[in-house]
């Protein structure tokens, strides 16, 4: 059962990820991204992380990709682009290097933690499933708002700074035009 769910979800994730980079139409690429995010949500459910699955769908599929699509529609760039033209020459070799680097890092971390994932006894310190449905959410809340509350608040300040900065940058252009 677990294997079947994993294989199906992994297939969703991979097909979606390939779609993001191979589809020439931006809207189709964004929809493939949604497929990937749903696959990840299914994997969360299979791991009994129901809360993360729901948040994955609400935040990523429901808000972020909708904003991508919104921008694509509003700017009218929903046409296939000719990818042979290269506006920024260093981009592709750099992307290859970064991509290989990420694959290397992930592979290294998996190899390093091989014992904990597969070979170990399989029991973690904190039980993920305790029969009580709310325990999952409670544990996340305790670590986010208890142990890591400073990091959480700093992240929220960072987001507010980013939002205010964006508003300021877009408005300054307008008022500059008016003064000149």
């Amino acid at each position: 059962m677990e294997l079947v769910v994993f294989v199906l979800a992994a297939a969703m994730v991979l097909v979606g990820a390939l779609g993001v980079i191979l589809r020439s139409n931006p809207v189709h690429a964004a929809l493939s991204l949604v497929l990937t995010l749903f696959g990840i949500a299914v994997m969360f459910v299979a791991q009994e992380a129901h809360f993360l699955a729901a948040v994955q769908v609400i935040v990523y599929a429901g808000a972020i990709v909708v904003l991508f699509l919104f921008v694509i529609m509003l700017l009218g760039v929903d046409r296939s682009e000719d990818i042979r033209i290269e506006p920024f020459k260093v981009q592709r070799p750099l992307a290859a290097v970064v991509g290989l680097g990420v694959i290397g890092l992930v592979a290294a971390s998996i190899v390093a933690s091989r014992d904990a994932i597969g070979g170990g006894s399989g029991s973690l310190d904190t039980p993920t499933s305790t029969g009580n449905g709310d325990s999952n959410i409670r544990q996340i809340a305790e670590s986010v708002f208890g142990d890591y509350v400073v990091a959480f608040e700093v992240t929220s300040i960072l987001l507010v700074v980013a939002v205010v900065g964006t508003v300021m940058l877009t408005r300054r252009v307008k008022s500059g035009k008016d003064k000149s």
Binding site: N25, L31, A46, H50, A54, G62, M73, D134, N136
Partner: protein, 403 residues
């Protein structure tokens, strides 16, 4: 693993035998059938009630009181020609109606439709010697599932407009996606106020928390989150007075202009089913769900819950029809002003107020002092926000913007 995935229903605990499996299948089929039937009568009810409010007769030919009018319309839609525009994106064009329709249906699964919640009972009922709920699934993240589904429903409308390859549907869907994404914030914040009191995300837990009228969340959260939720839900469903998505005077028919035949039927069905399920969610969150005000004599407890639930849902269905018949449509900038400048700050402020009161109760602080101080802070914030809005309006006018 088997039981873990299915642990959303108490009937599936332990070894999965034939009877529990049959009960689950029976519930799925029943909810599917009830969902379709209720939606069919909702369409009839809306047409009939609006006709009454506008001094007309309304549907009266098919069946008694025109009850079968929707069925006749549905059959007609099935036999009409299915057109696909030349410039449409064929795959997405065919996919979009299902993206609108399936989430609308799935919301049914988390609404508690009945059960005995009185005197601290948990709403569990016994069928054929197995305990279960009058609810298809009771996942621990219940209400978040509803949020997730409503955010998936945005895709249906958005992609329908884009894939039609024509300008009016595109305008309609751009309006729809902006509107639905911005009102989702107010919706979520007013749900958060309820969750603060309920202490759980599961829908049956939220209902069980509302034992007695004083504990109904509409009373115990102080009405404001309920009003915000009602407004935001109306906008989220694109119903009047927030139906700019299909403003027929400006956009022909909105996002579904290019759709015909049963594909249009699916959008239509999804829209009306959303009205019913949203009323169910409002009743679950704020009005005690299947919890009754008093005992109805003779009828057993489990059925009594269903009767109360249906009665409450009917009230809200009528409220939505009434909105449609009474209120003129909002302008787009008014809609965005209401969402971002009034509903979101108000729901956030009220959420903080409820959190402070909850903290005061838990820590045993002086309630009166806390309430006065919190009210002062909220008034101060409201003044600051309104001053900031005035300043920005003055700035925009100086720059010569139109609005």
């Amino acid at each position: 693993m088997n039981t873990a995935l299915l642990s959303i229903d108490p009937v599936a605990d332990g070894d999965l035998l034939w009877t529990p499996l049959l009960i689950i299948i029976l519930k799925v089929v029943a909810i599917f059938a009830i969902g379709l039937l209720v939606t069919m009568f909702m369409v009839w009810f809306e047409r009939k009630a609006i006709a009454g409010l506008q001094n007309r007769i309304g549907p009266n030919k098919a069946g008694p009181w025109g009850l079968l009018q929707t069925l006749a319309d549905g059959i007609k839609l099935f036999f009409k020609e299915d057109l696909i525009p030349d410039r449409a994106d064929r795959f997405v064009f065919k996919l979009a109606p299902y993206l609108a329709f399936v989430p609308a249906f799935l919301v049914w699964s988390v609404i508690p439709l009945g059960g005995d919640f009185s005197n601290g009972k948990d709403g569990l009922v016994s069928w054929f010697g197995h305990t279960t709920r009058v609810q298809l699934a009771d996942p621990p993240v219940g209400i978040l599932l509803f949020m997730a589904l409503s955010s998936v429903a945005v895709y249906g409308i958005m992609l329908a407009g884009w894939s039609s390859g024509s300008k009016y549907p595109l305008l309609g869907s751009v309006r729809a996606s902006a509107q639905m994404v911005s009102y989702e914030a107010a919706l979520g914040l007013s749900i958060a106020t309820v969750l603060l009191l309920a202490g759980t995300l599961s829908t049956s837990g939220i209902v069980a928390n509302q034992d007695g009228f004083a504990n109904w969340h509409v009373v115990s959260t102080g009405v404001v989150p309920f009003v915000i939720f009602l407004l935001a839900a109306t906008a989220e469903m694109n119903r009047p007075p927030f139906d700019l998505v299909e403003a027929e005077q400006e956009l022909v028919g909105g996002f579904n202009t290019e759709y015909s035949s049963i594909r249009f039927g699916l959008f239509f069905l999804a829209e009306f089913m959303n009205t019913v399920t949203m009323s169910g969610i409002i009743v679950t969150l704020f009005w005690g769900g299947p919890q009754g005000l008093f005992d109805i004599p003779v009828i057993p407890g489990a059925i009594e819950g269903t009767i109360w639930f249906i009665a409450k849902v009917l009230v809200f269905l009528y409220v939505y029809v009434w909105f449609r018949a009474t209120l003129p449509r909002y302008r787009y900038d008014q809609l965005m002003d209401l969402g971002w400048k009034i509903l979101i700050p108000a729901s956030l402020g009220w959420f903080m107020l409820m959190a402070v009161l909850r903290l005061a109760r838990d820590e045993d602080w002086n309630r009166a002092v806390v309430a006065v101080a919190a009210a002062a802070v909220i008034v101060l914030c409201a003044v600051l926000i309104s001053v900031a809005m005035k300043v920005s309006r003055a700035n925009r006018e100086r720059e010569g913007a139109m609005f």
